[in-house]
């Protein structure tokens, strides 16, 4: 009955996940498709682990069931691993190459997570790693990392790039439209290098 394309966006409060999920939602509206989504507001946003659910063509509940996401967009690689169980068989994870070590790890003297180990544990799934910070910096605005991530993910989304770009232009501050457009295009190229050449038509 449900034929939605489910996407989970994960990261840390303050990384711009709500804006990123709004880009997907607005792109659905532009294409005349139904969409449902859910996001984290309130105290959890204070540097905590946050998730955004987007169900493209969704008609019912807003939550992506675990094991059902066709795409996970992770703004932090540690969060990619935390939510990896949401991925459906055959789904893809598009992840930022960076991760922030939770402050509590240092405070408690716990072992600091290791990038190679995180990559290794993610590697059993189709994984596209993106240097969002590098792209955003090159695009001209470090705050455009979230748009760079959407650009990279766009190769794996059943939404037209033009719809996504239109949503970016609608949602970002006017004076940052150009840098965000560049971040999107450069992110998209990075996604293509991951082998995401098929979707997005």
């Amino acid at each position: 009955m449900s034929e939605s394309f489910d996407v989970l966006l994960v990261g840390i409060g303050g990384q711009g996940i709500i804006l990123a999920s709004n880009i997907l939602g607005e792109a659905c509206i532009a294409e005349g498709r139904s969409v449902k989504g859910a996001e984290t507001h309130g105290m959890a946003q204070r540097g905590g682990s946050v998730e955004g659910h987007i169900r493209i063509d969704g008609k019912f509940g807003p939550l992506v069931p675990p094991g059902s996401a066709r795409l996970i967009i992770a703004f932090d690689m540690l969060e990619a691993l935390r939510y990896a169980h949401f991925l459906a068989p055959g789904g893809t994870i598009v992840s930022n190459n960076r991760f922030v070590v939770p402050t509590s790890v240092y405070m408690q003297g716990a072992p600091v997570p290791d990038e190679a180990a995180i990559r290794e544990r993610l590697s059993s799934r189709p994984l596209c790693v993106v240097d969002a910070e590098g792209i955003a910096g090159e695009a001209g605005n470090p705050l455009s990392q979230n748009v760079a991530m959407i650009g990279a993910a766009s190769r794996f989304l059943p939404l037209k790039p033009a719809s996504l770009l239109g949503a970016v232009e609608k949602l970002v501050p006017k004076k940052t439209v150009e840098t965000n457009r560049r971040a999107f295009e450069m992110g998209r190229a990075a996604g293509e290098r991951c082998g995401g050449g098929k979707a997005g038509a």
Partner: protein, 593 residues
């Protein structure tokens, strides 16, 4: 009519505009806050709008407007309805002339709340109609129509969305904004508005007499519906109904409850057409209890026989599993998957440069064996810093503190409360503590804003929700007026002064108030306040770990030594606590990461 991608709370606000609403009040609380904020952002507002100091105040203001014939909405989170309950219960007796909608947003799973109470119980308790949307579209339509429903029965209407309605998004069809044209006018009618016993004894039966017509109207308006398809039925309410619809087989009936009170005759007729029924709803078994009352021998499953949980929130996957255990095969099967087990948690944390952190740090050093009652706000995160011993409800830091002191506890009681929470319900507790001779320190964490719920202004901010200048109410003056003779204000970024002030407070008798004042670091950043970052000199750092223990998210360990990241906002407190003097203002021009 147009289709937009809206947040549930935005959709509710749009519904209010279409009604149209004339009067808006509320107290911020997740997941309810955005309704007032969206209504604030509407160009050329023609309705009154306020952030009130608490939910009781908000509801009474809105009730007065409704008595004057205006259409009013009052928004709050579920626990706010406890604060407003005094007014709510009797407003059912007095009724209203203009439509009054009380939006109380429930929070199954307590994503941002101290409990999982169910506002529908207040509806039953007060005998007020209650609307329970299952989707954003329904939330919009219900908000739009609730004012007319309220006017039809001259009763306030409770609108009860849950977190997954308020904070979910979806394609939503909205209509034209209507213009508010009503002008409030109070018509004196003591038998309606003065609830002395003689009057209230007459008003109570009137409330009861309205009930059968309300029950019928809620079915006629299409809020409570039944689609009969086979011998088995699922009865579902609120967002659970959306989850059920996603996985319900075509041969199972759906009885959907979107409003209360439920017409029992109607419900009995629907239930009786089935061999057995399953009731799926979040939180309290409100629908289930009614179904069981009318089932007359039809077996009913739900919470009471352990098929549906009493606690937490549901989801499509959870509902599918519930159906399966009842004997309905859901149309979708969801794999049993588990998260990886051994990842470090990432709980929310006080921001880099948050003014609360040095206060907790100093409190723990000056009052080493102190007892730390606290309250509701960002600063509840001081739990992670070992400086929060109690949190129960708004304003209770003060009263739990005075209670502990009166209970015979001899250790120092050092309570913390935020500015907005102090205005909300901390003041009566302080007055009481002074009056009854408590022995405690109250630290008011004054960041000039209601931060946790999204930076809403309050009486200390100097501006109203609409951006108009307002008197900046002096917390010092309020405390002195409550009878506190020792009130000191300190900059929490100045650690030496902060510690000295706390030490001085420790020596004083009675109730002492320390006001720690510094703007919220997020509002300061938005106001373009730049302090410059700090950095660690690795040659001087002894890797002692003192700054790491401070718990600032801008401080990491690199090669065993401390390292300050680009999150630093320049509060400089870490430089004051570093025993080696290794932290100083950054001299590099580039950011450090």
């Amino acid at each position: 009519m147009k289709t937009q991608y809206l947040l549930g709370n935005e959709a509710i606000a749009y519904g209010c505009l279409e009604a149209p609403v004339d009067f808006v009040t509320g107290y911020p609380g997740t997941p309810s806050s955005e309704v007032v904020e969206v209504l604030r952002d509407v160009p050329d507002r023609d309705y009154y709008l306020e952030w009130s100091v608490n939910e009781k105040v908000a509801l009474e203001n809105a009730l007065a407007a409704a008595w004057c014939g205006l259409r009013a909405i009052c928004t709050m989170k579920h626990v706010g309805l406890n604060v407003a309950a005094d007014a709510l219960m009797t407003s059912a007796y007095t009724g209203v002339t203009g439509g009054l909608v009380v939006m109380s947003a429930d929070d199954p799973f307590a994503h941002s709340s101290q409990n999982e109470q169910d506002s529908r119980c207040y509806a039953l308790f007060s005998r007020l109609p209650c609307l329970d949307p299952s989707t954003i579209q329904e939330a919009h339509d219900m908000a739009r129509d609730a004012f007319a429903l309220s006017e039809q029965f001259s009763l306030p209407v409770i609108l009860r969305p849950t977190t997954r309605v308020c904070h979910s998004k979806g394609d939503t069809v909205t209509g034209e904004r209507a213009r508010s044209t009503r002008k409030g006018e109070f018509h004196r009618d003591p038998r309606q508005y003065v609830v002395i016993p003689a009057h209230t004894r007459a008003l109570h039966p009137k409330l009861n007499e309205k009930q059968p017509a309300i029950r019928k109207a809620l079915v006629e308006r299409g809020y409570n519906t039944a689609v009969i398809r086979g011998p088995l039925a699922v009865v579902a309410s609120g967002i659970a109904a959306a989850y059920v619809q996603e996985v319900l087989p075509a041969d199972v009936s759906l009885i959907k409850i979107g409003a209360y009170p439920v017409d029992e005759e109607w419900l009995a007729a629907q239930v009786s057409r089935h061999e057995k029924v399953l009731v799926i709803e979040e939180l309290h078994p409100v629908v289930e209890e009614t179904v069981r009352q009318v089932a007359k021998g039809v077996p009913v499953s739900g919470k009471k026989d352990g098929v549906v949980p009493y606690e937490g929130e549901l989801s499509t996957a959870a509902v599918a599993a519930i159906m399966k255990s009842f004997g309905i095969t859901p149309t979708q099967a969801y794999p049993a998957v588990a998260p990886v087990a051994d990842l470090p948690q990432r709980p929310p944390i006080l921001c880099a440069g948050c003014m609360h952190r040095p206060v907790f740090y100093a409190m723990r050093r000056v009052f080493r064996d102190g007892i730390y009652p606290s309250d509701i706000g960002c600063y509840t995160l001081g739990l992670q810093l070992g400086a929060v011993d109690t949190t129960i409800c708004m304003g209770a830091a003060v009263t739990i503190g005075s209670g502990i002191s009166h209970a015979g506890e001899e250790r120092d009681v050092v309570a913390t409360i935020g500015d907005s929470t102090f205005f909300h319900s901390g003041i009566p507790g302080l007055l009481n503590a002074v009056y009854n001779g408590a022995r405690m320190v109250l630290v008011i964490l004054d960041n000039r804003i209601t931060a946790m719920t999204g930076h809403q202004p309050n009486p200390g901010t100097g501006v109203t929700v609409c951006g108009a200048a307002a008197p900046q109410v002096s917390i010092e003056t309020i405390c002195r007026a409550c009878g506190v003779s020792w009130v000191e204000t300190v900059d929490p970024y100045d650690l030496a002064s902060l510690m000295a002030t706390l030490r001085a407070a420790k020596e004083q008798p009675g109730v002492k108030v320390v006001i720690a004042r510094q703007p919220c670091v997020i509002t300061a950043r938005r106001a373009n306040l730049r302090r410059g970052r700090f950095e660690v000199d690795p040659g001087v750092c002894t890797a002692c770990g003192v700054c790491i223990g401070f718990g600032c998210p801008a401080i990491e360990k690199r090669d065993e030594k401390a390292f300050i990241t680009g999150l630093c906002s320049g509060c400089g407190v870490c430089a004051q606590i570093c025993p080696a003097g290794a932290i100083r203002k950054e001299t590099r021009t580039e950011g450090s990461r």
